[in-house]
């Protein structure tokens, strides 16, 4: 279980997260929703231990950092590294031995090509494959469905179900409500760095309505299209 208690995060004078309190249990999939800039990525970076913060984030199985598989929104790939070498690098980092990467290549990626030449969706799939191979207990997935084709979306959904069955903790963000309905058990609405609402599956529609109710029309009118 991961327990987030009174987490605050600021970059200089810019307060990004305010008093975040959440808990994530094994075998649950939690979705974090919010507008761009609401603080989702910062929250993910704090949970995974990339960012320092005020407050506490505890994990009942020890050091959370070494059990987290973090999928960033835009995975960055070092130049002149092939897909296979990237997977090798991620496995080395966690002392995992994989004898045949081709066998684990569930998205049929061209592993012998430079990762930097991959398309957006392929990059996401390679990064996801990497963290899946690490045998992590916690998965933090920042917009895992972004830029990924329909077939791969189905595979990702099935992978998430499998991880849930195996009692992993999964925290993800997405802007696609249909996907969130399909995958998540709980939804947390983050607005201006604060958790505005936390709901279970039955109340997902309320969160969707609330997010949609923000004066979209008025904003578009400003463009004078």
């Amino acid at each position: 279980m991961i327990k987030i208690t009174s987490v605050h995060k600021a970059y200089g004078t810019n307060q990004v997260l305010h008093n975040i309190n959440l808990s994530f249990r094994s075998g649950e999939i939690h979705g974090i929703v919010g507008e761009n800039g609401a603080g989702k990525t910062t929250l993910f970076r704090c949970v995974s231990g990339i960012e320092s913060f005020k407050g506490t984030i505890s994990y009942n199985k020890g050091a959370i950092k070494n059990s987290v598989g973090f999928l960033p929104t835009n995975p960055y790939f070092i130049s002149k590294i092939t897909g296979k070498e990237y997977l090798q690098l991620l496995c080395n980092a966690r002392n995992i031995n994989v004898s045949d990467f081709n066998e684990k290549n569930i998205f049929d990626l061209p592993l012998k090509k430079y990762a930097e030449t991959y398309s957006t969706g392929m990059k996401k799939k390679l990064a996801l494959t990497g963290i899946l191979l690490q045998n992590n207990d916690v998965f933090i997935l920042d917009e895992p469905f972004n830029g990924v084709d329909v077939h791969s979306n189905i595979i990702i959904n099935q992978v998430l179900s499998k991880l849930k069955e195996r009692n992993k903790i999964i925290i993800l963000s997405s802007h696609i409500f249909s996907t969130l309905h399909e995958t998540c058990d709980y939804l947390h609405y983050l607005k201006n760095g604060m958790i505005k609402k936390s709901v279970d599956k039955a109340k997902f529609d309320y969160v969707e309505q609330e997010m949609k109710s923000i004066g979209i029309e008025a904003k578009i009118d400003k463009l004078n299209l």
């Binding site: 231990g49 990339i50 092939t82």
Partner: protein, 305 residues
């Protein structure tokens, strides 16, 4: 177009600051340095005027990024795009042209300017996708990337070691060993993105130890052909080669540690100065390595705690 060039100027200043160089100081030092290097070049080489012109054109070709070209092509009208490209190229060759004029090489200036303008009409191919095989697949990163970018330099180093036999000069062989380690040290000049450090399930000490172990193994592997050549032809002096091998290794260790101690995105001015200082006075390595080791551990603690 005016805004584009002012933005270009701002970006250049920002990049200088990122490297730890004050733009005002750079505007004084760089022209002096350029003048001195150019002057030395003309002193040292025969047909320097032709070589210098060739290098100028080569620089224009190398420092041309297809992605950047595509961006300005999308944003500006065809005429403005062409003008920007030509001005960009001419600005790049301007210092070289000035020096050629100073040397009264008018014909070369004409050739350089004409070729520079013509190159503005040539579309450089996007990234080459051909994957260069490397023997460093077990621990991919610095050596895999570095080798793919600099493999031609190794041919040069191995060539120098063979030359040392032909001209019966052991020192050339030692130079070849040092060139390998100097190049490998360069692989550790740029700090990796946070993710690639954070992802390791290791303590900062373990992380650094592992980096040094990999660097030591792979650089030894790369310098082995030279050692073998020197052992066959200069067996009585092989211990000297090993001393320089050790020195090269320590030099590389210093760069690995400085990378994390400085947390900089490129070689900062101070890192460069320390590097040169240690080249001139190697015992300084014994002080610098422990000092920056503790600083590196402190910085790594933030991501590997």
């Amino acid at each position: 177009m005016k805004f584009y060039f002012s933005l270009l100027f701002k970006r250049l200043n920002r990049q200088l600051k990122d490297l730890g160089i004050e733009p005002l100081i750079a505007s004084i030092i760089f022209p002096c340095l350029f003048y001195w290097v150019s002057l030395s070049f003309f002193d040292k080489f025969i047909y320097a005027n032709y070589l210098y012109s060739f290098i100028t054109i080569l620089i224009v070709f190398v420092i041309s990024f297809p992605e950047h070209d595509d961006f300005i092509k999308q944003q500006f009208s065809p005429n403005t795009y062409r003008s920007i490209k030509i001005i960009n190229h001419l600005l790049l060759v301007l210092p070289f042209v000035c020096f050629l004029l100073f040397k009264l090489c008018y014909f070369e200036v004409l050739i350089v300017v004409v070729l520079t303008v013509l190159l503005s009409y040539v579309k450089k191919p996007n990234k080459i996708n051909f994957v260069i095989p490397t023997p460093f697949y077990r621990w991919p990163y610095e050596f895999t990337v570095g080798f793919r970018k600099t493999y031609l330099v190794f041919l040069f180093s191995y060539g120098i070691s063979i030359l040392s036999i032909y001209v019966d000069n052991f020192n050339l062989g030692v130079f070849a060993i040092l060139s390998i380690f100097f190049l490998c040290s360069f692989y550790y000049s740029k700090l990796e993105p946070q993710f690639y450090i954070w992802v390791h399930a290791e303590s900062p000490q373990g992380f650094l130890k592992n980096k040094i172990r990999i660097a030591g193994t792979y650089s030894f592997f790369l310098s082995l052909p030279i050692l073998v050549i020197l052992f066959i032809f200069y067996a009585d002096q092989i211990h000297i080669a090993f001393i320089f091998e050790l020195l090269g290794f320590l030099y590389m260790v210093m760069y690995i540690i400085m990378k994390y101690a400085f947390n900089s995105s490129g070689v900062s001015m101070l890192q460069g100065v320390i590097g040169v200082l240690c080249l001139l006075f190697p015992p300084a390595l014994l002080l610098i390595i422990p000092y920056y080791y503790s600083r590196a551990i402190n910085n790594l603690n933030k991501l590997l705690k």
